[in-house]
């Protein structure tokens, strides 16, 4: 078996164990929460009899471990249970299936914007390192990580939407309805999440480009008389791409955090805004499901990044 396959398999098992332990933790914390699902559903004036009936129906009288295993076997079959209060009785799985594509659209859109910005900024400042262009782009990067993304969202609305009327300030057209519509209505939220990420990406790219420019094999290539652009693409850029991919992967965690608030501001019905709505409605089952979904996405992306890097650079697999 090739080394990277063994490595990938061990990473996959590790990720699955983490999800398992994570789901247990999420389950126990929600159980320990002061609120009572019966009161959320039946209201504060519920009679003891109706509460007892509700608890029996929902299996809430079973031992904790039985309840957890019941929930877990459901998760394995993508059955997340039903919503308690936000959309009473509706299947959480269906709600997620409806919302996930929107979150994915905004997320991928934001990553693409961030990568494009950072490829330009990072490369330009590495080539002109120490010069005024480098100083400006480094300052822009520091500024980028210092702006709260949801505030940036409002500033973009103020300038590009209210001011210039270029983009809608609220609402989102799903990709399934119109691809162009999704690109247009999703631009401001995606840009708001992308800006801080672009700053982190371009700083990473610049640092590793600069590091590789000084390495011996680049000097050798230069002495052979290769053109600067050939050297840059084949000897500098190719070696700088791995740390870049690693950072892009790590930032997905950050991205999903930003999505929670941005979706709410721009009225995008995604998993992030669903979790906020569920939190307000004290819909414990729904919150629980969203937390596990987010954890799974983060771990899945980390896994994919690990596999890609192990294929690009066999030295990482040891």
């Amino acid at each position: 078996m090739p080394a990277y396959l063994t490595y990938s398999l061990s990473r996959l098992i590790g990720a699955l164990i983490t999800i398992l332990v994570g789901s247990l933790l999420v389950f126990l914390v929600i159980k320990a929460a002061p609120g009572d699902p019966a009161l959320v559903v039946l209201g504060d004036f519920a009679t003891p009899e109706s509460i007892a009936r509700f608890n029996a129906e929902q299996g809430l009288d079973d031992p904790l471990m039985v309840q957890y295993l019941h929930w877990l076997t459901g998760l394995a079959r993508l059955d997340f249970g039903t919503s308690l209060s936000l959309a009473k009785g509706q299947s959480i799985g269906q709600m997620l299936a409806f919302r996930l594509p929107n979150t994915a659209t905004i997320g991928i859109y934001a990553i693409i914007i961030a990568i494009l910005i950072s490829l330009v900024l990072g490369t330009v400042s590495a080539i002109n390192r120490g010069g005024p262009v480098d100083a400006v782009s480094t300052s822009v990067s520091v500024l980028g990580v210092s702006m709260p993304d949801f505030w940036l969202g409002y500033m973009l609305v103020l300038g590009l939407s209210i001011g210039m009327g270029l983009f809608p300030s609220y609402g989102f057209v799903p990709v399934s309805e119109s691809f162009i519509g999704a690109l247009h209505s999703g631009f401001l939220p995606a840009l708001a999440i992308a800006a801080p990420m672009a700053a982190v990406f371009s700083r990473t790219l610049r640092a590793s480009l600069v590091e590789n420019m000084d390495r011996d094999h680049v000097t050798v290539a230069r002495s052979f008389g290769h053109s600067p652009s050939f050297i840059f693409i084949h000897h500098v850029f190719r070696n700088s791409i791995i740390p870049f991919i690693v950072v892009v992967g790590l930032q997905v965690r950050y991205l999903l955090g930003g999505v929670v608030i941005i979706e709410r501001i721009f009225g995008i019905s995604g998993v992030g805004s669903l979790m906020v709505e569920a939190a307000f409605a004290r819909d414990y089952y729904l919150v629980q499901a969203c937390a596990v979904v987010f954890l799974t996405i983060v771990l899945a992306v980390n896994f994919i990044v690990d596999v890609i890097c192990s294929m690009l650079d066999p030295r990482r697999v040891r």
Binding site: T18, V21, G22, L25, V26, V29, I30, A32, A33, P34, R129, G130, V142, L143, V145, S146, M147, P148, F150, W151, L152, Y154, M155, V157, L158, I162, A207, V210, E211, D214, R253, Y254, L255, L256, G257, G258, V260, I261, R264, I265, G272, M275, V276, A278, A279, F280, R282, Y284, V287, C290, A291, F294, L295, V298, L299, N302
Partner: protein
Amino acid sequence: MNLSNLLKNHTALAGAIITTIFLAAVVFGPTLSPWESNTFNFGAALQPPSAQHWYGTDSLGRDVLTRVLEGARVSLLISVGGVILAMLAGVTIGLYAGYYGGWFDMTAMRVMDLLFGFPAFVLALFLMVALGFGVTNVALAIMLVYLPIFARITRNSTELVRDDPYIQAARIMGQSAPRILFRELLPNISAPILVQASVSIAFGIVIESGLSFIGLGVQPPMPSLGVIMADGQEYFRPAPWVMTMTGMTITVALLALNLLGDGLRDMADPRLKTREA
């Protein structure tokens, strides 16, 4: 890392100066301001920024600058509180895990990885549902977000120095483990921890303002940067300055803390600086 080094490093110096000004404004500003942060004055509602009201007024005629200064006090205290808790717990876990290794190291770091797997706002949101909204719980959420980072940084640095001669000497002299860890080892690995602290306080403010902004954090009438922005968002079209000025203040504070962190990092690891220059 000392004062003369700080003076030579322009990034760190700029960060330190702006941070100091910001702190001074937050500490003394509300007292010096001619306005009360919570007194309504409907005659002066929604005025744009002017010489009297530098940040304008809100829908209840309150001076936005005074509110931002008081709100920043609350936000900063929450963020600093959460980061200090994360640092205390994370550093302790990291020291023991890195020094002893073995099963404790394995287990503790797996748990930290797990916590790190949740996006910051998801973790915070989850905690709000479990514990309820409010000041203490926002601080706890910030703590949980940063705990794994401090633990990991401390663990990795501890592992690097645990076999150094001065640690071996302390061990041979029969010093107790806590004494070796906190008195001998910790001072030598404190630089990356302090850098992380300054960056974490910056992002802790963002977590606070985000949670309070969507209504799950600090609850009005207590002002916090997030509460003020949530307010400003309601009349964003007629009076965009409330939101704009509040966010700009946060950006400047974060910029200062990030510059300070960057500068401290260069000072702690000069190799990094020459490589980037």
